[in-house]
């Protein structure tokens, strides 16, 4: 301690200089607006750049939150859209609206044959090509998606139901914008359940979350499919999601065949994609 005082005393010029110069700078920064703003700005520059670097890392942790927020926003916006008229219409029905072109209409039909316990399940309905049904149309019920039209006769139609290993239905989650396909068969034999594949691992899936159609293919968007009951990581980069189907296939009585007025147009346009390749 004594040595320190001797040292300071020996070089008192320098230490006094530090003291007085520091005091002067303190006055400068404290009393002059220009220097003050600059001092705090450069301080902020350092702090700000540190924060920016930290944020580079932390923003990945918040990606889920950000996605959820965006997805919620999208959902809210989607609710404001006039959706493609899903209603309990009893026969083919159109709304004449000059603002909105009708895209989807529905043909109501009665189930006359059904199976749920086979390896591949089919449904037969009492409407056919005379009523405008064509091969490949989507079929829904009041509760949710039923299947895809397989074969058409003048008076009858067979439907490859969701409970068929070859049926793939483009499906998405209600709040997340990831889409995958709904499949059944293989390990899943329970007629009330199906699996949702191809949803990437990073998507956070809550139990009880709604699974709905995407609107990419045969069905209008946001037709209910089911609810998530289990979501596991699978070995690859996709989630293994188990879905409880909304449609009760064993008690199915009436279905609606979806007529997409614009499907031809859409298919022709999309055909150009492959032709150009």
């Amino acid at each position: 301690m004594k040595n320190i005082w001797i040292f300071i005393g020996k070089y008192n010029a320098f230490f006094l200089f530090l003291l007085f110069f520091g005091f002067s700078l303190f006055l400068v920064i404290r009393n002059n607006i220009y220097q003050r703003s600059y001092a705090f700005n450069s301080a902020n520059l350092i702090v700000g750049s540190i924060y920016a670097h930290v944020n580079e890392f932390t923003k990945y942790f918040n990606l889920g939150k950000a996605n959820d927020r965006l997805a919620n926003e999208n959902a809210a916006l989607r609710e404001q859209l006039r959706q493609s008229l899903y209603s309990n219409i009893v026969d083919e029905h159109q709304v004449n609206d000059s603002l909105y072109d009708q895209r989807y209409s529905y043909i109501v039909a009665r189930v006359i044959n059904n199976s749920v316990h086979q390896k591949s399940n089919y449904i037969t309905i009492d409407r056919g090509s005379l009523h405008g049904i064509q091969k490949g149309m989507g079929v829904i019920s009041a509760d949710g998606v039923v299947g895809i039209v397989l074969n058409v006769s003048p008076h009858f139609t067979t439907i490859q139901s969701v409970l068929h290993p070859d049926t793939r239905i483009s499906a998405t989650l209600d709040t997340v914008n990831a889409f995958g396909s709904l499949i059944w068969g293989g390990k899943i034999v329970d007629p009330t359940k199906a699996a949702l594949r191809d949803i990437p691992n990073h998507v956070k899936v809550k139990e009880g979350e709604k699974v709905v159609t995407t609107g990419y293919s045969l069905f209008p968007s946001h037709i209910p499919i089911g609810k998530v009951i289990k979501s596991d990581m699978s070995g690859d980069s996709f989630l293994d999601i188990e879905v409880l189907l909304d449609t009760d296939f064993s008690t199915l009585q009436y279905v609606y065949v979806v007529l997409d007025k614009m499907s031809d147009e859409k298919q022709e346009l999309e055909k150009l994609n492959t032709e150009n390749e």
């Binding site: 008192n12 010029a13 320098f14 006094l16 200089f17 003291l19 007085f20 110069f21 005091f23 002067s24 700078l25 303190f26 006055l27 400068v28 920064i29 404290r30 009393n31 002059n32 220009y34 220097q35 600059y38 001092a39």
Partner: protein
């Protein structure tokens, strides 16, 4: 003793008056400005204690700052000047050859020494002054040019003052 004290007080007020009333309005397009008030700090007695030198420097700087509305800038420059003055004195002055309270002017020393002494001190003072005033390293060349040209200006004025009052400072 008391005469030196009074002489310095008079010098302080005279130089300060000249600085804030005359040289504040004299300048070369904001590039070169003279600050001859530091002559007062240059001419403080040889053996002045360090703490007193610093205190006087700080006070002088603050008074000038008050007139220039740049609180602390001149104070910082004057503190640096005091530090450099102590170093230069220690390196170049043979204290035993002079009176304890001798004024380090042209009369007591010689012209060559005073020219060197004042040049170094003026240059450090001005560099500090302009750097603290700019408070940034951007436009550094402009700041340095200003400091350098102002140093020349101030040095000329200081030498003129010293030569004009040559006989008086010699007593």
């Amino acid at each position: 003793m008391s005469s030196i004290f009074i002489l310095n007080i008079i010098r302080f007020f005279l130089l300060l008056a000249v600085q804030v009333f005359l040289f504040k309005n004299v300048g070369y397009y904001n590039v070169a400005t003279a600050f001859p008030y530091i002559l007062f700090l240059l001419l403080l007695p040889l053996n002045i204690p360090n703490w007193l030198l610093y205190t006087i420097s700080l006070a002088t700087g603050i008074v000038v700052d008050m007139f220039y509305d740049t609180f602390g800038v001149h104070a910082a420059a004057c503190c640096t000047l005091a530090f450099v003055r102590i170093i230069v004195m220690k390196l170049t002055v043979d204290y035993e050859a002079h009176e304890t309270l001798a004024t380090p002017g042209i009369g007591e020393m010689n012209f060559r020494w005073f020219f060197f002494y004042s040049s170094v001190l003026v240059l450090t003072h001005h560099l500090t002054l302009f750097m603290v005033e700019a408070f940034t390293f951007s436009n550094l060349h402009y700041t340095l040019i200003s400091a350098f040209l102002s140093s020349i200006f101030t040095e000329v004025v200081i030498l003129l003052f010293s030569l004009i009052f040559y006989r008086k400072t010699k007593r």
